[in-house]
Symmetry: C2
Subunit: 379 residues, 2 copies
C-alpha cells in the first residue's frame, strides 16, 4: 500500500429538501455572492427561484454569471472571475452539473489573482487562496461536488484538461436527488457511465490497496444495480439518490487511497472525442472503456478477471467486457463510435490529437498503435 | 436513503515514516503542547523518543500527562485537562490507542471549560470549543483516529459510555503501520474483532443505504482476508497496513451515511463485560456478536443472510454465524464467556447492569429476556 494523506474538507448535504438549508449555510460567508450557472435549465426547473429565495433570506447581494457551456470554456471562467474580482464577492454559489461547478472552482482561485485561468492549467501559476465555493448539484456524474478537480476546454490551444488543487474543494455541496428528476434519459445514462468510468480509472491505476479496490467494486455493483432501475423510473427518489451518492463516492479521492492515482488514459481519449465531435463526456467513456479493456486484456487481464469474479462470479475477461457493454447498452449509453456518428474516415484526425494531447494514461501507457487498436475495437 | 451531512475534517497521514513529518505539521498550532500517553509502552518501543525529537524540532514546550488506562477513566481526563488549562497549551498530541486518543478528545473540550468532563457524558454541558488535537495511533482497532467519538469509564457512576461531538475529530492523525509491529498477538486479534464489530453495528443499524452496506461488506471482507495473514506475520508491513486502514474506515462515519446510525447494542453489552470483569473490548465483541446474531435470527435473518451471501456465497444464517465464530477463533479472539473466565454464576449481575445501563441497542432493542438468551448463547 502506498503512503497517502486522506483529507476531504467538503461538507456534503445530501437528501430531500436540503436546498432549503442553503440560506443559513451561506450566511456566515458574507453578503456578496457570485451566482454561477449554465444555460437556463435551472430557471425552467424552478430551482433558480428556490435558490434566489434562499439568498434573499441570507440577505445576499447577488452578482450573476450565466451561460457556462456543457464543455466549459476557460474564457467564461476569466469573464466570471472579473465580475467576482471587481465586485469583491465573499463567496461563489455554483448551481449546475460538472461543467458549472468545475468552472466555479477555477473562478474561485482566479478571482484573487491577476493572470488568466489557463495559467493554472499550464502550471505557470499556483493558486494561493480561493474564494469559498458552495455548490448545488443538478446532475449526478462527475463527482466534482466533493473533489478538488476541474476540467476545462481551451479552444485556442485545442486542449481539454483536468486541474486539481486542495483549494478547489467546495466548502459545502448540496445534493437533493429530487433536483435531478428533470435530467433527461440520455444524460442520466451518461452520468451513470461517467461514474462507472471513474471507478475503472482508479481500479486500473498504479499501486495496490485491496480495500480501495473493494470500495471501487462496491460502487460499480451499486451503480449496476440501481442504474437500470433508474432508467425505468426517472422520477424515483431511491433510484436518483443511489446513483447520485454513487457518483460522489466514485471520485472523491477515497478510491485512490493507498494507490498512486488512477490511469486516466480513457478519459484523455474521451476528451478528444468531445473536443472534435462534441460527444457527451459519459458517452465517450462507455464507447472507449470496453475497447480499452479489449486492448488491455494482455497487460491487465488479471485485474479485469478479478473484477469479473467479484461482480459477475466469472473470471473470463471477454465475458466481463461483454457484461459492461451489455450494461451500457441497457441504460442507453453508446458502446460504438458509429452510434455517435463517428466513421472510420475521422479516425486519423482523432488519433493525431490523442498523440498531441498525450491521452496515454499513467499506468498502462498507450502508444500510437494502441490508439489505433482501441479505435478499431470501438468502431 | 435517509438524509445525511457527510463531513470529516481529519487529515489522515498514512504510511511508512509519517511519524517524521509530525514536527512540521504541529508547528503552526503554537509552541505549548500537552503530550498524552499511556503506561509507558511508547517509551519501550522507542516511539516516545521519536515524538520528542519531532516536538523539539518544532520548538515545542512540552507538558506531559501519562498513565491513561486501557479502559480510560474520566478522572484522568479531568487531571490532564487541568494541566492543559493551567499551562495554556496550544494543542494536544495524543500517542496511543483508542483509550489515549479518546481521553485526549475529551481533554481537548474540557480544557476550555470549568466543569468536569463527565458533565458532557450526562449532557449537562455542551462543548463550545476545543484545543486542536493531533493523534499518533499505536493500535489498529477503534477508528478513533478519524471520528468524533470517545468512550470513557466512570467508576463513581459505574458506567462506560460513548460521547461524540464534531469538535472531537482529531485535526491530524498519524498512522504508521510499522508502529503497530509491537502490538502483541492477543491485542492484534482484539483490534480485528473490534473493527469487524463496528462494521456489524452499522450494518444492523436503522435505515437503508445499499452503498453503505456494500462498503461495510467490503471492509469485513478485507479484514477477513488480511486478519489471518497478519496473525501469521505480526511484522508484515502489508498486513499491518491493511488492518490499520480497515479499522479507520470501519468507524469514520462513512458506513452510516444514508442510514440512521448503528445499532450499538452489542457494544453496550460488551462495555458491561469490561466494566465488571475487565474483558478486553474487542474480546467482548467477538464473544457477544455471534450470540447476538443467533438471537436476532428471527428479527434480522434477512440481513444476516445477505451478509452470508455477499461474504461467503451462502445465505444460510447458521452457516454465516458459524463462519464468523470460526474466523474469530482462527485469529485468537474468544467466542465464549468461559474463555475469559466468566461462568454462569456471574450472569445475573451482568444482566442487572445491562438493564441498568440500557445496553439495549437502538434498532433491534433488546429486552431482559434477550440479554438472558444472548448470555446463554455466549456461555
Amino acid at each position: 500500500m502506498d503512503n497517502f494523506i486522506a483529507n476531504n474538507p467538503t461538507s456534503l448535504h445530501f437528501g430531500k429538501g436540503v436546498i432549503e438549508t442553503i440560506g443559513k449555510t451561506v450566511k456566515p460567508f458574507g453578503s456578496k455572492v457570485l451566482l454561477v450557472y449554465g444555460k437556463g435549465s435551472v430557471k425552467k426547473s424552478g430551482l433558480y427561484d428556490r435558490i434566489i429565495a434562499q439568498l434573499n433570506e441570507a440577505g445576499a447581494t447577488i452578482f450573476e454569471f450565466d451561460g457556462i457551456q456543457p464543455n466549459p470554456l476557460v474564457g467564461d471562467v476569466d469573464k466570471a472571475a472579473t465580475i467576482g474580482r471587481e465586485n469583491k464577492v465573499d463567496y461563489i454559489l455554483a448551481v449546475g452539473g460538472g461543467s458549472v461547478i468545475d468552472s466555479a472552482k477555477i473562478i474561485s482561485i482566479t478571482i484573487p489573482v491577476e493572470h488568466t485561468a489557463w495559467d493554472f492549467y499550464e502550471y505557470k501559476a499556483k493558486p494561493l487562496t480561493a474564494v469559498p465555493l458552495v455548490a448545488v448539484l443538478t446532475l449526478a456524474a462527475t463527482g466534482t461536488e466533493m473533489n478538488p478537480f476541474a476540467v476545462l476546454q481551451n479552444p485556442v490551444t485545442g486542449r481539454k484538461d483536468g486541474y486539481g488543487s486542495p483549494l478547489c474543494f467546495p466548502v459545502h455541496s448540496f445534493l437533493d436527488p429530487e433536483v435531478t428528476y428533470t435530467v433527461p434519459a440520455d444524460y442520466t445514462a451518461y452520468g451513470i457511465a461517467d461514474l462507472i468510468a471513474h471507478c475503472f480509472e482508479n481500479y486500473f491505476g498504479k499501486g495496490d490497496c485491496s480495500l480501495s479496490d473493494r470500495f471501487i467494486t462496491a460502487i460499480i455493483a451499486d451503480a449496476m444495480e440501481w442504474g437500470p432501475k433508474l432508467m425505468n423510473n426517472l422520477h424515483g427518489y431511491d433510484e436518483r439518490a443511489a446513483i447520485m451518492y454513487d457518483a460522489t463516492m466514485a471520485l472523491n479521492l477515497m478510491t485512490s487511497h493507498g494507490k498512486s492515482g488512477g490511469d486516466w488514459g480513457v478519459h484523455g481519449m474521451g476528451h478528444i472525442l468531445s473536443l472534435l465531435h462534441g460527444v457527451a463526456h459519459g458517452a465517450s467513456l462507455s464507447i472507449l472503456f470496453p475497447a480499452w479493456m479489449k486492448l488491455l486484456n494482455e497487460r491487465a487481464g488479471k485485474q479485469i478477471a478479478k473484477l469479473g469474479t467479484d461482480l459477475f462470479g466469472n473470471p473470463d475477461v471477454d465475458a466481463t467486457i461483454a457484461k459492461f457493454e451489455e450494461f451500457f447498452t441497457q441504460i442507453g449509453s453508446p458502446v460504438h463510435l458509429s452510434q455517435v456518428g463517428i466513421g472510420e474516415d475521422k479516425f486519423e484526425e482523432i488519433i493525431r490529437l490523442m498523440i498531441r494531447n498525450k491521452a496515454e494514461g499513467s499506468n498502462y501507457k498507450l502508444s500510437e498503435a494502441d490508439y489505433r487498436k482501441i479505435m478499431e475495437f470501438a468502431k
